[in-house]
Symmetry: C2
Subunit: 360 residues, 2 copies
């Protein structure tokens, strides 16, 4: 009875007639950045790699590791209004990717039956970026409020971030999920270019669909299956390892692609038995109008497929291949022949979801 | 034999070793802006309404009629390289829609078997916007070259435009298609917000899928089924009339929505027997998290559906209703709860295509 009373009090005391209380993910007593490897080491900063990685990966990779692609913050609140404010370090937008995708955040509420529902916030891009979510649905049966999942910018770094709610309302950060993550090593495509908003990057769609942590270790223009990155990934006790690196391997010879795939897979398999997925280049959507693109991606696929076959022959178990026919990338699925729009992102996520549901 | 020779000459004479010849759609001897109503009256300028409309429509509608949404230029060329350069009048991008969609162009090649293939051009946004298409596939069996379809910016006005090819190559504007167009009166959504590139606006997807002219008379924030616009549309002898206006009718009472739908449909039906489609509001994708959005769109749909039923009772023939269940708008199909991303645009286009194939 007392519990019921305090629960109801929690709900009814919460109103807009109050000052804003700012909650700081970075200042929290426990790590709250979901899908982040090395939480213990990184602490509560908005990074994808631990500081020591600066010494082992190329500068371009290190710089891109500051982008918050795939990171998310989960929390409970019963507030009717949530304000997210933060500072980003880079440009707000690219010509082929809007500010909402490059630098925006994306919020979903989790319903009591586990479904994720999109929430929209009015936004303002400036020295401080702000998203304001209003008129949020509340439910007296959920006195602490719904669980919310906030997806962070795909192509920008976050300097600081605060989540504001009316002071009279409940707010509670949710600790980092404990499941072994699905780890994705990839390129600009897996990093999230060019989704219209963070939740539409395919690793984030996949995370929502599976309701499971998916760690984004993808680096725009800089994901060519390098040993330095595989060595870091090897520190993650993953549920599944995904290598979607081919779109950045176009400048490599067949032999070098073969070598990197062989060594990368062996490197992981020497330590873990978890499933490993190698992914085809899904194709350039202008490969029937541009003579330079007609065969480029097919060559890379053949080189990787050769390595895959050899790895199977070598007795590597639990190794899977996601080929471009299975991805079935839509002809209109890119903004620029290379980078998926949201239609293409959904196709990638659907293909991965189907495969992962068999493996997990 | 002589014909064969000159055809082959046409093909082989064309090379990059030549000066660029600029072709000017505005200066052409016949109108070349596809999907443009009132071609004879507008001439060859990049407009959606004739000049006299300024006196009859609201200023906001008039201003938006300068946006080139839905306009396209079709041409033949056998050139290996095409440069499109032009000047736009407004901002390049919006925070939730990239420059490629707001101000970019989009090029497709038509293969001999009638399929449209995406081409990609490297772009540069500046005082002069430029798209450069290189390494284009050529086919000796198509001496004049492929037909190309160039889709113009969705959310900007075009001051002037030139299409450049090597001087030694063939170039030929294709006259405006003669089929009666599908005419769409709508809001920001139908205008193309927030597609990643022009061809992904749903009226343009539909035009490609049907290989048929679709005229875009949609005006961002300004498509509330107004008599002044219906009176102009009434001048177009359309194959099908589509009224997708509800997303801009939220501030109107049920009675006013009912009245405008009744009068608008009757206005068209008094003159034409062509199919008329009324379209539901497809829903806000945050309607389960935002209390203000939960019922707003359903109310509008009920008001329009009531008018639809009454029109049927009144004996109006060839009247169709595209309801939100049939549109089946995806939960992740918007960038901002209201405006479709490319995933949502595809859903709209698919729903319209299915219905139109029954009617045409």
């Amino acid at each position: 009875m007392r519990l019921l009373f305090s629960s109801l009090a929690l709900f009814f005391l919460c109103s807009l007639q109050a000052q804003t209380r700012w909650n700081n993910p970075s200042g929290n007593s426990f790590p709250v950045l979901q899908n982040q490897g090395w939480s213990g080491e990184i602490g509560t900063t908005f990074e994808r790699f631990p500081a020591r990685a600066e010494k082992t990966v190329r500068k371009a990779v290190w710089d891109l590791s500051h982008h918050t692609a795939g990171l998310a913050i989960h929390f409970y609140t019963n507030a009717p209004e949530i304000i997210v404010r933060y500072k980003v370090k880079g440009s707000f937008a690219m010509n082929h990717m809007p500010a909402t995708g490059v630098s925006g955040v994306d919020l979903y509420a989790v319903t009591p039956d586990g479904k994720l529902k999109f929430a929209w916030g009015s936004y303002r891009f400036g020295d401080t970026v702000q998203y304001k979510y209003q008129n949020l649905v509340r439910d007296p049966k959920q006195p602490k409020g719904f669980e919310y999942r906030l997806f962070l910018p795909l192509y920008n770094s976050v300097d600081w971030m605060q989540i504001g709610i009316p002071d009279s309302c409940h707010f509670e950060f949710i600790p980092v999920r404990k499941e072994k993550p699905v780890v994705v090593y990839g390129t600009s495509i897996a990093q999230g270019g060019c989704a219209s908003r963070p939740a539409m990057g395919w690793t984030n769609i996949l995370s929502r669909k599976l309701n499971y942590p998916v760690m984004n270790l993808a680096f725009s223009g800089n994901g060519p299956f390098e040993k330095a990155v595989v060595d870091l990934i090897r520190e993650i006790d993953a549920r599944v390892f995904i290598f979607d690196c081919l779109p950045n391997m176009g400048s490599l010879t067949d032999e070098e692609i073969y070598r990197r795939v062989m060594e990368g897979v062996q490197n992981i398999r020497n330590k873990y038995t978890a499933p490993i997925i190698l992914t085809d280049h899904a194709g350039y959507t202008n490969d029937q109008t541009d003579t330079a693109k007609a065969t480029a991606w097919k060559r890379m696929n053949l080189a990787q497929q050769k390595a895959y076959q050899q790895l199977l022959k070598n007795g590597i178990k639990n190794l899977y291949y996601l080929d471009h026919k299975t991805i079935a990338f839509p002809a209109d699925g890119t903004v620029d022949a290379t980078h998926p729009n949201d239609l293409g992102m959904q196709a990638y996520a659907d293909a991965y979801e189907k495969l992962l549901r068999k493996l997990m």
